[in-house]
Symmetry: C2
């Protein structure tokens, strides 16, 4: 864990009560996966993190190469072979008596944790059961979903609703009624061999980017467009994408089984390709690449 300019044990790391990251959800973050001690699509994650920072009018105290070096150091210190590495930038603390966000000193926090499968490894391999939620996803006209942020009240509320319906998680629709995203993942539907994923009101996920690239490599028709919830409920196959699990089969939606209830053929092909390519070093940057020049 890197916080306030030094490395500490993650369990010891705490932030001041008055940090606006806590008080006003005034922070952005990103999460990059490490497999076999190599980052996946690190440049995409760093570029997005810097876009999120600019979008929230925060100011990064570090350049992208400096952040990469800190993330690598966090992984190295953790001793983990497979990890999720998270970086955050909070607005920081107001000067006393003020509530002017321009006067805050932004706070950078990073840490490495054991690789996390979004719904546990077994479910992520065998398929998850999603609930199309009645809770509306926060509109990008209010908080732009492209800037990775922690405005999760709608997502958490939708999760509770999903659990009550016996589902593993929720997927939410935007104010236009079209599919948006779920808590920490993007959604894809497949019908008659054509794949589609929502174009707007969702995070431009790096797992989503990877899935789109794999579809193109495999000549599978893929569109980013408006996707209606009935297309998910009536899909031949569906899958989620997330840094925590890659490409994850969705096998049930609102109690209805998709296909025969096993991960679909097209989905399985993408999952296999995703992991084969990752093992072969696709978009990989060794953590060690940043460790030669050690910084405290």
């Amino acid at each position: 864990m890197f916080i306030d300019g030094s490395y500490v044990s993650p369990t010891e790391a705490r932030i001041p009560i008055f940090d606006t990251g806590f008080l006003h959800a005034d922070l952005v973050y990103d999460a990059v996966s490490v497999w076999d001690r190599a980052f996946f699509k690190l440049d995409s994650h760093l570029a997005r993190f810097l876009r999120s920072i600019a979008g929230f009018r925060l100011i990064s105290p570090y350049t992208a190469p400096q952040i990469a070096a800190i993330l690598a150091r966090c992984v190295d210190r953790s001793g983990l072979r497979h990890a999720i590495v998270r970086m955050h930038l909070t607005r920081g603390t107001y000067p006393e008596g003020s509530r002017d966000p321009r006067l805050c000193e932004n706070r950078f926090i990073a840490h490495a944790l054991p690789y996390l499968w979004l719904w546990g490894e077994e479910k992520c391999r065998n398929g998850v059961h999603l609930h199309v939620s009645s809770v509306e996803r926060i509109s990008s006209r209010a908080v732009d979903a492209r800037f990775k942020n922690f405005h999760w009240g709608d997502l958490t509320s939708a999760q509770f609703e999903a659990f009550e319906h016996g589902c593993d998680d929720a997927v939410l629709c935007g104010p236009d009624g079209a599919l948006a995203e779920g808590p920490g993942y993007n959604i894809f539907v497949a019908k008659d061999g054509h794949v589609a994923t929502p174009a707007t009101n969702c995070l431009e996920g790096i797992g989503r980017e990877a899935a789109i690239e794999l579809c193109r490599m495999e000549d599978i028709p893929i569109e980013t467009r408006t996707v209606q919830p009935h297309e998910l409920r009536g899909a031949d196959e569906a899958f989620a994408t997330s840094t925590g699990g890659g490409i994850i089969p969705v096998t049930r939606v609102n109690g209805r089984t998709l296909g025969n209830g096993a991960p679909g053929l097209l989905t399985s092909r993408l999952v296999d390709l995703y992991w084969a390519k990752r093992r072969a070093g696709w978009c990989a940057t060794p953590v060690s690449a940043f460790l030669s020049d050690r910084q405290e």
Copy 2:
């Protein structure tokens, strides 16, 4: 500051990085004012705090009387005569490897700070300049604004926009295009002696409740209804209500002066009445009432 069951110095108080209050804005809060060592409308604040807790599906570890005793103790320890006392309940920390909000132990935090005027005392007395923002307020269909929460990304973004326009703060409209609220305050408009305040997509503020009660006492027509932004820009008078400043004159909107640029007559009457009644003990509960039975 009361956190994790004990009292500490506010500047020392920190929360774990992994608290979902920090990571997912998964907390609710409330803020009650203390003037001359008496709480204002304490019961209204406690009732709303418990509604916010239930609305976010959190579970309070304390009853309303227990919370009141903790708040009183925070004020007493602070030595403050005039204070803002805040209470928070966060979801807490996920068990390792889980992201199931049902498994978290909720964390209660309270503290007393010196009384805060939302825009400084001078501006709160002489009038503030508001900017009707182009940023949309988060819809209550996504995160219910009646449950006092920290989903402030839209509010902060709107504040930056307001500052760029030379204004003191922003007021936002909901997805229906009607006025909603600003960062930490409700908005009222007055035209031809009639007062109105938005009915939906806003916090049911306790300062708002007080202003409505004062209007009724004074036989000033008051409506809670849909209020369009042009009604603010074209108002005879306008005011904001907040725990941090009570009833606060708005004298300019988007660069246009309301009336003659001084606080309006109706507004001034309500401001004077508000403070006269507060000094006279209106809706006041002495902090000392909860201090006989001291608890550590």
